[in-house]
Amino acid sequence: MQTVRIKEITKRFDQVLAVAGVSLDLEAGELFTLLGPSGCGKTTLLRLLAGLEAPDSGAIYFGQQRVDQAPVYARNIGMVFQNYAIFPHMSVADNVAYGLRARKLPESAVKTRVAEALEQVQMAEYGPRRPDQLSGGQQQRVALARALATRPAVLLMDEPLSNLDARLRLSMRAEIRRLQKRVGITTIYVTHDQEEALAISDRIAVMEAGRILQVGSPVQIYRRPAHRAVAAFVGTCSFIQAGPLTLGLRPEMVTVLPMSQVAPPDRELLRGTVEEEIFQGAFLSVRVRLATGESVVGLSPLAPGTFAEGTPVRLAYNPAEAYRFDGRTGEAAL
């Protein structure tokens, strides 16, 4: 188990600032997720940690050791790639043995470690198979076994689930989490899927345009967004202008009321007309257009068809719950 420390890392590609002076401290053994839209710099930051890119400035430490100038192959990392990057000309066992052989382990030790690693991902039987005989999920497991077989200091995962179908994604997600906790390896996980990030992470860093907007536990990120962009990216959030402030309202904070219904006490009320009613099974989600032109999404337990387009409605929310952001900077305001 090793801590990871990133200090003021900057990386430019031509004129584009991909990573802009990022600093992070990772605890030993935690699963830390870099979350953000595509192009936010999360994959570049991961590749900088791996040594697949060289930083323009800044420092990276694994434990006490500074590694940012070390070549990839000397960093003792394990990495799982988006498309798995299984070596197609080698058997599953040779794939897993690859890093061990590069480290010149005796062949007997290689054998036991390969068996161990395949066992960990429930692929013990698959050693002699060729990669093209494996399903996507199985390739994913082999990639994981291969990355862990060398017992690396740090595990790096680049959108590892994005090539799997929705059902498999859920079960692999749980499995990765279990395995990571059992091995106890410090893991940096990159994804653009906020739901995945909330489900899998110990902590999350939300990135935008090469910068980190917020670092926190999944609950903190969702419930106390430090920036308007965090609230917008993680979960759904509507924004309305209120003087110098921007209010952020999650759908579950807003109840949509027909004009006939009495509003509960202690609630702020907004007026508008229905733009769209979306049936979500357990409840209705209703998008309402305010007189200011802003759109707010709220929920309602009423029957489908209640909110025809153009119907005037009221929206009720608890002002104590609403997020407040500085209207200019987007940062959370007290």
């Binding site: 040594g51 697949l52 890119e53 070549p71 192959y73 394990g78 890093g99 590069a102 990355a147 060398t150």
Partner: protein, 539 residues
Amino acid sequence: MTKLRGRGWTWIGLGAALFLVLFLLWPTLRLTAASLASGESYVRFFAKPYYYEALLNSLWLSTAATLGSILIGVPLAVLVARHDIVGKGFIRTAAVLSLLSPPFIGAYAWILLLGRAGFIPKLLGLQGVSIYGAGGVLFVFIIHHFAYVFLLTATALTRIDPALEEAAETMGVRPFRRLLTVTLPLCWPSIAAGALLVFTTTLADFGTPMLIGEGMRTLPILVYNEFLSEVGGNAGMASDGSVIMLAIALGALALQGWTLRGRNYAMHGLRTPAIRPLPGMVKASGIIFGWLVAAIAILPQAVVVVTSFIRARGPLFTGEFGLDNYRVMLDRMASPILNTLWFAAAATAVMLAAGMAVGYLLVRRPGPVTRLVDGLLILAQVLPGTVLGIGLLLTWGRPPLALTGTGAILIIAYIVRRIAYTVRSAAAGLRQITPAVEEASLTLGAPPGRTFWRITAPLMLPAALAGAMVSWVSTLSELSSTIMLYTGRTATVSIQIYNQVMNDSFGAAAALGSVLTVLTVATLWLTGRYGARQDGLQL
């Protein structure tokens, strides 16, 4: 990324660039400079019909051969790649064989078939049908080069995303119109690549018009005669002819590039297009057409092999079977055979190793040096062999480094002329491999050298081997630069065949031609066995 990577690749790139500059660019520039220095010779070139007729002949022959190859190659590709005709394997194999056999062997075989004492006129009692003359040259050109267009187009046709064609059909377009408006335009980059190959190889082909042109002058013949003839030759005219040939080849390259502007069709189809049945009559005519073309394409090889076992007296075959031709060949021509094998093997070994390295540079290490190498390879592909031969003689003919008359200069010429096949094929193979595979190896602790040898090289190897096979086979029969560069000691099989045919000694020529054919077929068979696919050749 550069910062974390070794400098080794930079040196390899510089080495490749240096080699091509020394043995391709510098000779070409020297030849051009020497020719342009005396501008008045161009006046003479364009004033005298003796000279400018060679230019006109070359132009119309190559243009007609290109159009003919498209007219035969494209429909044949559609039939084979998309429709349910029978005998596809035969058609493909015949096409590959016709392409990989030396064109002058074709010319010679057609002399046997349709020449003055040819089998076909004799058998059918035909008068006045003969292979000699411009029409015969054009016929041999087309039948030997349509396969460039055919193979490249057939490959492109199987890579088109079928959804695009289905989209056209959902809009109510009939299949034939869909073919003309969607399918073939999408294949145009491949058709154009094949057409350029036909144009530049026929432009540079020395043997075919020499053997059956009946004194018809084309640019390579003019250059050869002016450069080598002992009486009345004019080295200045030879270099002028060379420069004009080069200019035409570059012009064709530019024209091809112009028709391709803005046409970068990356295909992301997950399915391959379906094989569609044809209506009965169309299918029958398609099969007849395909088989006829294939049979004509492969006929010369068959003729050469069969006649090699028939006793010959001068240009006449006696009709008795026997091994005399091979005895003569082994008695008198063992050294050209050994020369050919040794030069081609040495050149191919270099081409395979360097081709993989340069292919890697082209795909994974873009930069100024890589762009230079890429450009020089394009020049190497369109530069006529005769022109390269003269350029090498001019540049490396005298001390301090006199290579003339050595085997080394032939090996160098072969590498320059044919390495592009290996490079392009290796590069295309590497493009199919995601860089993540190599990155994964690095993250697992394998340094760049180990990563290259354990991961990159094995994954590139099948494609590189397929390219090296084309390089090897086409080197075996190389004539147009060899004829400028050989001396008695370094004569090759192709030179011997040429000389034997010019001396009407058809028996030994047939035996030598069969040796080349057998080597070609054996190479194809071996590479086919080891998984390199013929129809995926990167030509």
